[in-house]
Chain length 200, copies 2
């Protein structure tokens, strides 16, 4: 179908997005073609807006249309807490949960021997500099509970040991709404070992 | 997060696409932001190309950047066969299978009492006109094997009975690679009833 070049190349580009394959990309394109003046026009506009204005924050690594980002620019956020995350999506997840009012630092990955990601590939020297120069009292490592994530957490804890800041990590346990029966052994062991007294 | 307006509205628009929810839309946006100059730029370009050039073919209803579409414009296609499909996606599926060299007619839906789609909502009078005026010898109804699809097929067969053209439908049976054990009863009954002699 060489004549349908415009549609084909759009399908091909869309199907490279995570969560979309060739079939769902075709469905998306047909959906857009049916809603051309409404949905498709606003999608092009929104993409162009993001393309032109959104960039990584030079301070924390968040993606935002203002620079520094709205979190780094907010004077009400707590300068004494710094939360280290693997990726911008984790930062967004924490913001959606409305539980944290400190600052962030996006690593851009975790240490991984398999993927060849060493300390130099991550945004680590800037982290050490921040904690040293600023009045950071606690560094919260909100890293994935995987082997690589925990290796990275230990590496960072070691790196920051000279600064005197408290280094903490998220607790492990049974997810809210989780059935014990479906839980993996590692999580169950960890949840049992770190069990909490229930206050009456 | 009112300051991240650009990202939020892109996520919102993307999450309305079929096959994408809010979470996968966010992942897609982050992916695009990481590949801004390559992937995101070409996505915007491809979308704009489709937006400006692709439109429904006035003859068959296919979506294409040329008008009439490349199938209707192709002199090598067989004018004596006309394949009726529910939607453009079905036309594309048949084209991908490389089994048919005739012309198409896209209905834009099937009759549905529940959804309030009657004969006037479908592209039916044009179909009757085409079969009458042109040298169509066979109308192949490649409609879904659902109740609504089959109601529509019978309605069209009735509508075209005066034209003298042969009206056929796709056969029902066991899908290639299908296990009998997992098949629904209706398909199994139909496949048994319409069993074929195996040539030696």
């Amino acid at each position: 179908m060489s004549d349908t070049h415009a549609i084909d190349s759009l399908v091909q580009i869309l199907s490279k997005l995570p969560a979309l394959g060739p079939r769902s990309a075709r469905r998306a394109v047909l959906y857009l073609l049916k809603k051309k003046t409404t949905h498709m026009a606003s999608l092009i506009e929104a993409l162009q807006d993001v393309y032109e204005h959104v960039q990584p924050c030079p301070i924390c690594g968040n993606m935002d249309s203002q620079s520094p980002c709205h979190i780094c620019a907010d004077p009400r956020r707590d300068d004494t807490q710094l939360c280290v995350v693997q990726d911008v999506s984790d930062l967004w997840a924490l913001e959606r949960a409305h539980i944290y009012k400190g600052r962030y630092h996006v690593l851009g990955g975790v240490l991984s021997a398999l993927d060849g990601i060493g300390p130099d590939e991550l945004n680590l020297s800037a982290l050490l500099g921040k904690v040293k120069e600023q009045k950071v009292k606690e560094v919260i490592l909100a890293l994935p509970a995987t082997l690589d994530g925990q290796t990275t957490a230990h590496y960072i804890a070691e790196l920051l040991s000279e600064t005197g800041a408290r280094v903490s990590g998220l607790s492990r346990g049974v997810p809210v709404g989780g059935e014990l029966d479906y839980l993996d052994d590692g999580t169950l062991q960890m949840a049992f070992k770190t069990r909490q007294t229930i206050q009456e």
